[in-house]
Symmetry: C2
Subunit: 227 residues, 2 copies
DNA sequence: CGTTCTGTTGAATACCTTCAATTCGCGTGG
DNA sequence: CCACGCGAATTGAAGGTATTCAACAGAACG
């Protein structure tokens, strides 16, 4: 199917690959569809390869003994995940679940490693991708350890603001998921949102948040001020 | 200096490289010595390359606005750090400081990237290294978000137990540094240690800790029990 | 129109941090 | 060799932030 090749060509991880190389990729690719809420793999599962999201959304998360979840990442179209599985260890280090009707590409470990070996550009792209991920995780550790929930939330809003270029932010996920992404629980998030509203920092319209006072959020994020 | 080549040959990141390749590495390597407490780079500094610890210890850490520090990693002999700088972004994402009299090798970004391009094995080794790091960070996020300090500490002890293969653990760092690594402060660590002692889980001899009840620590780490 | 999932709010509690005061350990200099 | 001094570690009391548990409101969905 030329279709798969076209879709792979749009994945930034594969930027700079020749048509032949893309074809080699497509040759080993397996398309997989998942419904909303359907698990993709569980932590500890045998790791046979990595995935790329063609369509939909996927969450990567850890679970505590008591069932609390910490979302590590939410991936959308064009993003690869579980690359770690290919290069380190034999099992997946976290859970993956589809958040919507999704279309995925699975690339088997062994064959993919061969392609990387033969392909310096692909290797560099992989390194860039994993390194970016590492930086994001470092920022997450910093946030969890050195900031309180209001600061983390303010940070998140500012990030979305910059990404979306508008004061009318789309969360893109439920508030419960946002709480889990920030390392807290829905109740706490709800309380902090209402405090932010009371102070005129934001306006809450459900899945859309309006940034009313960017300055104020920045002061929260840097710890200069508190709610 | 053949000396440098020998030392680089002992670095696992360079496993599988031919003598010529090692020589090419040595040709671009710059040796650097740092004293105890001396900064190596600061977060936000222009990132020109990566480092390898030949001797000594280096801590990588984030700082909060109020000056609290979160240690991300402590590296010893043979370990590379700041690889991220080479592949993603132009500035270092955290601070680095020497914890002892250290000898470092600096590898300039541009030249090192060239070597990777020409060297699939080196690329694979780099990918494995960064991926391992990513897994460690994921575990750290999990710990910070889903475990309380006693659980994190128990986990850390169990890790050292397995690494060192003996119940007489050497911390290798000060308790203050351990606190920062676990995302807490010395006072809290101290209190929890004394509770662990009271319950007969461990015995505290300063820089050495004796594991008296591995089972009990595991129950703490999994959340089955609390202090 | 009812059922279910998501989100909100309140009260009580738990955990960790902050601040302050000692104590301990150890290297340095007398 | 001992005494001093300084940083590291410990301990206590008070306070703050986030979680837990429970009840309820609201939105989404069939």
């Amino acid at each position: 199917m030329g279709n798969i090749i076209d879709q792979l060509a749009g994945v930034s991880l594969f930027d700079g690959l020749s048509p032949q190389e893309l074809e080699a990729l497509a040759a080993i690719a397996v398309v997989d569809k998942k419904g909303k809420g359907e698990p993709i793999f569980a932590e500890g599962d045998e790791a046979d390869g990595l995935y790329i999201v063609l369509e939909g959304r996927v969450k990567i998360f850890k679970l505590s003994a008591e069932g609390k979840e910490q979302i590590l990442h939410i991936f959308g179209a064009g993003e690869p995940f579980a690359e770690v599985a290919v290069f380190s260890g034999t099992t997946y280090p976290a859970h993956a679940e589809s958040l919507a009707r999704s279309q995925l590409v699975f690339l088997p470990k062994d064959k993919f490693v061969e392609l990387i070996r033969q392909n310096p550009s692909l290797a560099m792209n992989m390194l860039a991708s994993v390194s970016r991920r590492l930086k994001q995780f470092a920022a997450m550790i910093e946030a969890l350890s050195l900031q309180e929930v209001p600061g983390r939330l303010a940070n998140h809003f500012l990030l979305l603001f910059d990404q979306q270029g508008t004061g009318a932010i789309q969360l893109g996920i439920t508030k419960g998921q946002l709480a889990s992404l920030l390392g807290t629980i829905p109740e706490t998030l709800s309380r902090i949102l209402s405090r932010m509203i009371k102070q005129g920092l934001i306006d809450d319209q459900g899945a859309r948040i309006n940034i009313l006072d960017r300055e104020g959020l920045e002061e929260l994020a840097t710890g200069e001020k508190r709610l």
